[in-house]
């Protein structure tokens, strides 16, 4: 399957990735090749087959009680933040 440059721009927007103009033909080509490979899946007879949900039979995602299990370590975590103020993460103004 071939993708168009326009589709690549739209996918990049959905993925929140800014592409440079010269990158668009590169990704158009390589994603088209990847979907050429993926099209081989059409060979498989999958009628009546349930999509696999977990690699191990009978395993499901565990649930735990909705209780506080970690101490407050905000100051430590925020040492990795690009910009904070008064314990809050800062981003550009969202509402004018």
């Amino acid at each position: 399957m071939s993708l168009t440059p326009k589709q690549i721009e739209s996918i990049a927007h959905l993925a929140r990735l800014e592409l440079k103009a010269e990158e668009i033909p590169v990704y158009t080509d390589s994603l088209s090749r990847i979907f050429g490979l993926v099209d081989e899946l059409d060979k498989a007879q999958t009628a009546g087959i349930e999509p696999m949900a977990h690699p191990l039979e009978d395993q499901v995602q565990r649930l735990r009680p909705d209780a506080v299990s970690s101490p407050d370590r905000r100051d430590l975590y925020q040492q990795n933040a690009p910009q904070t103020e008064g314990g809050l993460y800062l981003v550009p103004k969202v509402i004018e």
Binding site: A15, R16, V26, G36, A44, P51, R64, N80, P82
Partner: protein
Amino acid sequence: MAAQTLADLAKGLRAREYSSLELTRAFLARIERSQPSLNALITVTAESALVEAAAADARLAAGTAGPLTGVPIIHKDIFCTAGVRTTCASKMLSNFVSPYDATLVGKYRDAGAVMLGKANMDEFAMGSSNETSFFGPVKNPWDAAKVPGGSSGGSAAAVAARLAPLATATDTGGSIRQPAALCGVTGLKPTYGRVSRYGMIAFASSLDQAGVITVSAEDAALTLQAMAGFDPRDSTSVDVPVPDYAAELQQPMKGLRIGILTEFFGSGLDPAVEQAVRDSLAVWQKLGATVKEVSLPNLPLSVPTYYVVAPAECSSNLSRFDGVRFGHRCENPKDLLDLYKRSRAEGFGSEVKRRIMTGTYVLSAGYYDAYYLKAQRVRALINQEFRSAFGEVDLLVGPTTPTAAFGLGDKTSDPITMYLNDIYTIGANLAGLPAMSIPCGFVGGLPVGVQLIGPHFAEGRMLAAAHAYQRETDWHLRSPAGWSADFEPSNTGGAA
């Protein structure tokens, strides 16, 4: 002869033939010699290693040491290490200092293993050659013009060059086994859910598994013992008892039913690699195992299945890198959308972006059924075929890779040729099976590996087969020119 296996080094430590401090200094000196020529490490933690070694020596003196106390270890830089930079080989996390330890890192810390540093890898574990690392490619210690494989290329190269007797690694589509094969070392990917992934940076959550790269299968058994077990902090961790792997190593080979996969011996396999693998089968047969051919007709669809499922999960997992709470942020964003888009565009390398976009597309409205659900159906078929094969045989054996290590830059222009390197390894991830690669010979002076795949939670049986093979052969004890093990104890008479 110089000691090179973890088992021998640990024995020497407990016999007080040498101290952990001596051992740690010797391995740190080798690491220093390897940088930057091999580029196997992103971060070296020499100072804290010496502190940890001194603490290990105190435990050894007090008689409270465990089997791994004082043994040097390198962690793949995908595992969070408290207070130490954890980059996942990405510009996105190049300044990220983890506030906590991954469960696996904590287990090794509690066991008294001494961390020497963090291993280089493909960016976010996406690659098969270690060429996508933001910190530059790792070189194969057997030939610096060749790749070490990936994504755990730094871990494999480090153990091959004897920079540490073990290195942790992760495997989503072959990222432990493929580099282990190309570097001539032993690589173990346990069953999905066997080893905790808490604190291991996520790539594709239904496939990712933590494991280890060592010199021998016996060493892999020792380290699996330390790593395996239920972790309430990992929702995919499985609560299944952990057997005594050292005891399981002694399982007899007589009567073991080995299956060879028809689909792994087709076109594309280098005849010299095929010969090395067939020679290894003869070793198991000599020990009393039987060999029969089994076919998994849908297994050739592993690669296209993987390149839907893995990118889909990666696009979801990597959405957390948005330039807000941690990780790279662009300069002077004009609004929030600009902040997201430019931070991600600048922080991720091209292969990571390619996979995020592939995954975004297969999950997008109108395409989900055609791609994602279709792939998960094919995955179910492959899983069923493995299950029925294990009704007839105890282990599956085949090549780990189609060829020996390829040249740096040889496969970077076309993603498909790179992806096809994992054609034999992806199946085990899709089905969540334990698998390993052990050295089985050389092709053109480069090591190649034989792969073993077992049923769920049959690590013991698989390790026993690998151990039996390694008692008959010495491929795993060969080391690259210039990197042979050289640790000789200096403080007492006993040669290690």
